[in-house]
């Protein structure tokens, strides 16, 4: 039993489900009705359509499609008010996902330099050639590890890799010990 429809995350899930053809008939009708009444929801729907088109291996996973879908929706007679045309700028694929990675990566690198900002006690533990480079680097700028962490945290590639990035952080934090 799906939760009742409402704006917000549930609705997003609903739209995804609609795209995947996983909704029951009445749910489909309800979702489409909600779509027609909300500009925000329609923009989500639009983005979903891009995915849908891709899933169906149709050409043109691009702004053109989005615009066409938008105008198709706008022309729908049941639409109450014309939605403002939204230009789809290039967007980072999944910054939100990357957030997890971001934090994780940061942690990993902290091990390179002790938590304090003093660049002391860096060169410890067995080190192969590669690690020595790293440690030398870390000694030169204690902020390197902080930046590495921040870099990971904000890397949009995390969208695809998801947890994998955080993994890198966690793993890396053990380095240099």
């Amino acid at each position: 039993m799906r939760p009742r429809i409402r704006d917000g995350e549930d609705m997003k899930t609903r739209i995804s489900a609609l795209m995947d053809g996983e909704l029951e008939g009445h749910e489909t009708a309800e979702t489409l009705r909600a779509l027609r009444h909300s500009g925000d929801l329609r923009s989500q729907w639009c983005d979903c359509q891009l995915i849908g088109a891709a899933l169906r291996r149709e050409r043109g996973l691009d702004i053109d499609v989005a615009a066409r879908v938008m105008s198709a929706i706008d022309m729908e007679p049941t639409v109450m008010a014309p939605a403002p045309r939204r230009t789809l700028d290039w967007q980072p694929p999944a910054l939100a996902l990357a957030a997890s990675a971001a934090g994780v990566a940061v942690v990993a690198w902290l091990a390179l330099v002790p938590a304090g900002d003093e660049p002391t006690a860096v060169a410890r533990g067995p080190a192969n050639a590669k690690q020595e480079t790293v440690l030398a680097q870390a000694r030169a700028t204690p902020r390197l590890q902080e930046y590495l962490l921040a870099h990971q945290a904000y890397s949009p590639g995390g969208a695809i890799v998801g947890g994998a990035r955080n993994i890198r952080t966690v793993a890396a934090s053990g380095e240099g010990r």
Partner: protein, 323 residues
């Protein structure tokens, strides 16, 4: 999926968006898989153990992930070496270092919502990578599908992904350099997809009392306002974020600009400070190349999991904006 429903949907889409007929290209095929993967890693509930390998090191960690009421929750715990734990709830990431008695909290300056997760940004990937749908295989006992991405130029690395054929969850990922060597690799060795998670799977194990808390502050700014210009354009890389960040009130603010081609990303950090005497240099940390350069009274650091050529080229083109 019921046949009736999907054909209804197909019809609806045809009516809404009359698309030109085209033969399905291989790249799009691979792109579809990537999109499934991107969605899967966010929306699925899963838990398992994975191995991370880079620069001759192997680390094992445990992960649990779920999406509850629209909030992504995730916990990763290192199983080898010193204990480390990363906990994420939505936009807030907490990193626990029990041995150092330190917790670092990073709260993202701006959280993008659902639509930006979607693949508007992935659409341009085929311009910079040859994307190939690969063979079926097995990872962590699951039937998986490979996707190969080969860079079209020398400014990015190649990737190999394996995803669970049924759910789309990424099971294995490799980063491949220009000589075909694997720079880093992560792979599940055991995974359970779908809930419910074990009790406490998302609860931190380390208590956060009597620890030092370092809270990172980041404020989004407009790229035009940052006072710096990037003269060199790396094909496919676009600025996705620009912010001022500060780790503690006594530390100077630095500038952080993130560029991405949709898959690989490069960070540029600019902080006030005189040269430490060292010249320009590229060094590596795991799979990440770091290029450092002094520009007048500022230190530049350009880093990313991209070839050294890319960080150097971008870094050499950065200048102060003339007033």
């Amino acid at each position: 999926m019921a046949v009736a429903r999907s054909s209804w949907l197909a019809l609806a889409i045809m009516l809404l968006a009359p698309l030109p007929a085209a033969s399905p290209a291989l790249a799009e095929d691979g792109l579809v898989l990537l999109q499934r993967m991107a969605q899967g890693s966010r929306q699925l509930t899963y838990s398992g153990t994975f191995v991370y390998r880079s620069s001759g090191r192997v680390d094992t960690s445990r992960i649990a992930h779920s999406l509850r009421d629209g909030l992504e929750m995730e916990r990763i715990e290192a199983l080898d070496g010193s204990p480390r734990e990363v906990l994420r709830a939505g936009s807030e990431v907490k990193c626990f270092f029990p041995e150092e008695k330190l917790v670092i909290i990073e709260n993202r300056a701006r959280q993008r919502g659902f639509p930006s997760l979607l693949p508007a940004g992935l659409g341009s990937l085929p311009e910079h990578y040859v994307i190939r749908r690969g063979e079926l295989g097995r990872v962590a006992g699951m039937k998986s599908r490979a996707v190969h991405l080969e860079p079209r130029d020398a400014l990015r690395y190649g990737r190999e992904f394996w995803m669970d054929d049924a759910s789309g969850l990424l099971l294995k990922a490799n980063l491949i350099d220009e000589r075909g060597e694997t720079l880093e690799s992560f792979a599940f060795i055991q995974v359970k997809i779908g809930g419910p998670l074990e009790r406490g799977a998302l609860t931190p194990r380390f208590d956060s009392e009597r620890v030092r808390v370092q809270q990172v502050r980041a404020t989004e700014i407009k790229p035009d306002d940052m006072g710096w210009v990037f003269r060199t354009v790396l094909p496919g890389f676009r600025t996705v974020s620009a912010m001022r960040r500060q780790t503690a009130p006594e530390n100077p603010e630095s500038l952080h600009v993130v560029l991405s081609d949709g898959l690989a990303s490069i960070s540029v950090f600019i902080e006030p400070g005189a040269s430490g005497g060292e010249g320009e240099a590229v060094s590596t940390v795991g799979p990440v190349n770091v290029y450092r350069r002094q520009v007048a009274e500022h230190r530049l650091m350009v880093m990313g999991e991209v070839p050294a050529l890319a960080v150097k080229r971008l870094g050499d083109g950065i200048e102060r904006r003339r007033k």
